[in-house]
Amino acid sequence: MMNEDILQIQDLSKAYSRQVVNIDGVETNERYNIIFDLDLDIPQNTITALIGGNGAGKTTLFNIISGITEADSGSIMYCTKNQNSWISLLNQPPHRMKKIGIGRLFQDNHIFLQMSVLENMMIADSNEWGEMPFVSLFNRKKNREIEQFRMKKAKDTFELLFGRDNPFWQKRDDLASTLSYGQQRLLGLARLLMGKYRLVLLDEPTSGVNPMLANTICSVIKKMVDEEGITVFLIEHNMKIVEEIADYCSFMSHGKITAFGYPRDVIGDETVRKTYLGM
């Protein structure tokens, strides 16, 4: 295993069954490979972009890594603390991913719209004290202290990412639904810094966001890597952003990684240009 990797994926496959009815009305089950014998290594403390057309299997790959979807075969090894400590991510329940340091930003926002901005941050804290019913009932003093600590952590995170007079802290008591779509995206990213993550999977973080906010999102992602030492694996369709922020780029087509390297090389690859970029 290469020393600098945080994630090593080998021979990963996932197929779905779909029912097909032919012209005579005969029903048959057809296997459809969404991921097929996929190999990919993600280097530590870097930003690795995953590009590819719709239906290539990118989100399914993220779902398998984060435990939401089960793989049919293959292996995903994750480096937990040091290079001697590797664990398999296959068959891990999704709620365990946070405990081993893997975070996720979904393609749809998936923030809690009916909670305040501050509550959205506090629920993401790595410290789960007070979340058991008996503890929440009886340890009021310690609960209050930890809630104060969570608030301070949220404030510090907002300041680290968006500066002192940021709109998020000013709107901390407003419902998250009152934020613009782009701000909700940023809140989702900021929330990831409340946990102790070593690897975050970002599914199209800049989609549907105006260019100014997209720039802010990019700078937040860079800060995650440079200042927090987090490894970022992101799906992105904007090649300008990929070239700007990614250290490595992988191209996925028909369930396989067909190109991996520096962003400029992958984006310049003839097959990628023809099959994905339409150039």
Binding site: I68, K98, Q114, M115, G130, P133, S136
Partner: protein, 290 residues
């Protein structure tokens, strides 16, 4: 005055039922049709403590809560992973099975003959709570304590996770919380606290039989909750007051009994229809059950 105090006791019994159910339905988005089954089981466990084991008030209540929580756990373990309508059907199945057992296992529950002469509970083993005034106070104290407990739970980090589950389970999972475990905890807590209603009812009426804990009663409890509203503490209280007082208001209209009973059902149905259309979160609730 006795009439008013009787209404206060009944309102408090329903406040405990709706407030407990709110944690399940309003905070965690788990629609259950088995509330009357746990209400009934709670009442029968109280009979076990008071009549069979001759235990004092507090040990009886605690034992009944523990046993009901155990039954809640037994139902929750296989059914909590079921989604939406399937979970509703699982709780419906439990309701029907429980009623059938309570009704037909005559040697254990006395079936349709019911259990008469349930003794009044004794506070600290000495002070017997038997009069209407004492019952009124006891029910007020217990309802207040239940509201206090649920107020703390809802406003705690635990309540925040429940709100998260209600809104977006996948997101809560990705934040590292074991959603299934939380749902089981909520189910067990709800069942344990519903027992307090069973306790108040059994010792107040001094007679229980399975017909008080039917599917109709489950629907009635759920209707009270949906009419009052979910997701906060005001809604369940408003719902309980509404469903207990509405028949009394109709009574004052002077309608014949046969018509009044039917009119009550029609008004409940009408209110539900109007609310679902104009205020789906209920009169005082802040969350729309999905």
């Amino acid at each position: 005055m006795n009439y008013v105090m009787h209404l206060v006791v009944m309102i408090n019994i329903y406040i405990v039922l709706t407030t407990s159910s709110n944690l399940l339905v309003g905070m965690t988005n788990l629609l259950s049709l088995g509330q009357a089954a746990f209400y009934g089981l709670g009442a029968y466990f109280v009979v076990l403590g008071l009549v069979v084991l001759h235990l004092p008030f507090l040990p009886t209540l605690l034992l009944a809560m523990l046993l009901n929580a155990g039954f809640g756990l037994l139902l929750a373990l296989p059914s909590i992973r079921l989604k939406g309508d399937y979970f509703v059907f699982a709780t419906l199945g439990f309701q029907l099975i429980t009623y059938t057992i309570l009704y037909n296992w005559v040697s254990l529950t006395r079936g349709p003959y019911g259990v008469p002469g349930i003794p009044a509970p004794k506070l600290l083993g000495v002070l017997e709570i038997s009069g209407l005034v004492q019952y009124c106070i006891l029910s007020l104290v217990l309802a207040f304590l239940v509201i206090l407990v649920f107020n703390r739970l809802i406003k705690s980090p635990f309540g925040r996770v429940l709100k998260g589950i209600r809104e977006d389970e996948l997101s809560v999972l990705s934040l590292g919380r074991n959603v299934t475990m939380y749902k089981i905890e909520v189910f067990v807590i709800t069942c344990a606290f519903i027992t307090i209603s069973g306790f108040l009812y059994a010792t107040y009426v001094t007679y229980i039989d399975p017909t008080s804990f039917t599917l109709d009663e489950s629907i009635f409890i759920l209707s009270a909750l949906l009419i009052g509203g979910t997701g906060n503490l005001k809604g369940p209280i408003v719902g309980a007051v509404f469903v207990v007082l509405l028949p009394e208001v109709i009574r004052f209209l002077g309608l014949p009994e046969g018509i009044a009973a039917n009119l009550r059902q029609i008004i409940y149905g009408f209110f539900l229809l109007v609310l679902m259309y104009f205020r789906p979160q209920g009169i005082a609730g802040n969350y729309q059950v999905k």
